[in-house]
């Protein structure tokens, strides 16, 4: 049952290129791709006999449903070229090429969006799926075997993340009721008509209390509360663990509460 091929430092693209006697010099490569990414992409160009990049990976996947035989063959060839290019970029990213990695992730965004929509994710939630899939690619990049199809690997991840989101939305939908008119008409018993007058003063107090926080606590409040970042996103951007962010946010809120109470 073991079908996974043995991973090695050389991808099939490179192996095929290595067997080719054509020189690699003089080939055009994509702008903004690092040296390793360029080498892999040149190898792809050799392997695919200069099949031009379509520039629209999501559309090329959709095109696989072309009705005529010739169109289907062309679409398949484009898919193969796209897939091999992505595999080469991912192999370069595994080796640490940041430019190739950015190119790959940007290339994946429309493809993930197309997969999410096909799974039935609503338009306003597609970006959530895209972000989760990008984070998953980052966390799971060492599990990708350069000898296998990157697009197939990505498709399974995107489908699973889309299904996760749909399930979560379904659970939330079962718990919550969408009634905007009732919400607007519900009187807020704690509302204070004079509250607006104190708002400016409160803002100043909060700013002063925030400034007095230690840097890590201030960073947690800035990311999670003020910038409204998700825990995962804040963790990736600040390079702090989710646990550390949670602890610092908890301590920050406690300090802020104390400061506000002391000021009356």
């Amino acid at each position: 049952m073991e079908r996974r091929s043995r991973p090695g430092p050389v991808s099939p693209c490179n192996r095929r290129a290595a067997s080719s006697e054509q020189p690699l010099k003089g080939r055009d490569s994509a702008p903004g791709v690092g040296e390793m990414g360029r080498r892999n992409m040149l190898a792809v160009a050799d392997a695919t006999a200069f099949i031009p990049y379509s520039g629209a990976p999501a559309e090329s996947m959709v095109a696989s449903h072309a009705r005529t035989g010739s169109r289907r063959r062309m679409a398949t060839a484009e898919q193969t070229a796209d897939d091999m290019r992505r595999s080469a970029l991912m192999a370069a990213a595994q080796a640490g090429d940041k430019t190739a990695y950015q190119t790959l992730l940007r290339d994946c965004v429309p493809l993930i969006g197309a997969i999410a929509r096909r799974q039935g994710v609503s338009a306003d939630q597609v970006d959530d799926v895209v972000q989760e899939v990008l984070l998953t690619i980052h966390r799971a990049r060492q599990t990708y075997d350069p000898g296998r199809s990157f697009t197939a690997w990505l498709r399974v991840i995107a489908e699973r993340r889309a299904i996760d989101l749909l399930r979560q939305s379904g659970r939330r939908g079962a718990r919550e009721l969408h009634a905007p008119i009732a919400f607007e008409n519900y009187p807020d018993e704690t509302a204070d008509p004079a509250g607006g007058l104190h708002h400016a003063d409160d803002s100043g107090r909060v700013s002063r209390a925030l400034a007095s926080l230690p840097p890590r606590q201030r960073q947690a409040v800035q990311s999670l509360v003020l910038n409204e970042q998700s825990l995962a996103e804040a963790s990736a951007l600040t390079r702090r663990s989710k646990g550390s962010l949670k602890v610092n946010l908890h301590r920050a809120l406690k300090s802020l509460r104390g400061s506000m109470e002391r000021e009356g």
Partner: protein, 227 residues
């Protein structure tokens, strides 16, 4: 090459953050090879423990009741197949059908162990261990499961499962089966009903604990946590 569309814009900040966090990684060895590494550790532990085990009693016991060979073969095969399945499931693109891989071995293990109970019922002279002795089995299985689990989950953590609960459960099964296999070195009696129930309880305990704690290995990224 770069297909920047308006759709990409909201993700630019995240992509730049991820790229700045990029470190070189080695592609993981195949799940089969990782399973063999883990099983190698289990076999090494069994060899070390065999130095303090009564191997002559072990051999006599198995000569007297051949069905115990079957039960031991079933548990050993369960450990092997469940380990392969767990490492396979730890990959984000694996099919959940891999969870069925250890099923034939589990059935062999259960049926062969059941034969031991049957002998206990059919043959009135069979030694039935008291509860105190069978509790030693529980202690041995749980004690062996600790180092086996630590290595198993440390290795699984290198991957990234999108089926964390299932992966941890199958990993727990592999650990419990390996512990039950090594237990045979120190098992001074045939499997009677009480003994078998204690074994089943110990295996279930290891699997449930693995399911609860192991599934947290891959909590990031997760919609429920990230929201």
């Amino acid at each position: 090459m770069s297909n920047a569309t308006p759709q990409d814009a909201p993700h630019d900040r995240l992509i730049e953050g991820l790229a700045s966090d990029l470190r070189p990684v080695q592609p993981l060895p195949s799940p089969g090879r990782r399973a063999m590494i883990w099983l190698g550790f289990v076999i090494l532990a069994a060899l070390v423990l065999s130095l303090i085990a009564d191997l002559s009693a072990f051999a006599q016991r198995f000569m007297a009741s051949p069905d115990m060979w079957l039960a031991m073969l079933g548990s050993a095969l369960t450990a092997l197949l469940a380990a392969i399945a767990a490492f396979r499931l730890s990959l984000p693109d694996s099919s959940r059908a891999w969870a069925w891989l250890p099923l034939p071995a589990v059935l062999l293990w259960i049926i062969a162990s059941g034969l031991g109970c049957l002998r206990d019922v059919v043959l009135p002279g069979t030694y039935v261990p008291p509860l105190g002795e069978t509790m030693e089995c529980l202690a041995i299985i749980v004690a062996l499961s600790v180092p086996f689990s630590l290595l198993m989950f440390a290795m699984l953590r290198e991957a990234f499962s999108l089926l964390p609960g299932l992966t941890a459960t199958i990993a727990g099964l592999a650990v419990a089966a390996a512990s039950a296999t090594v237990l045979n070195l120190f098992h001074p009696f045939d499997a009677a009903v009480v003994d078998l129930l204690v074994h089943a309880f110990a295996v279930a305990l290891v699997v449930v604990v693995s399911r609860i704690y192991g599934a947290r290995l891959w909590a990031f990224p997760n919609f429920s946590k990230a929201a």
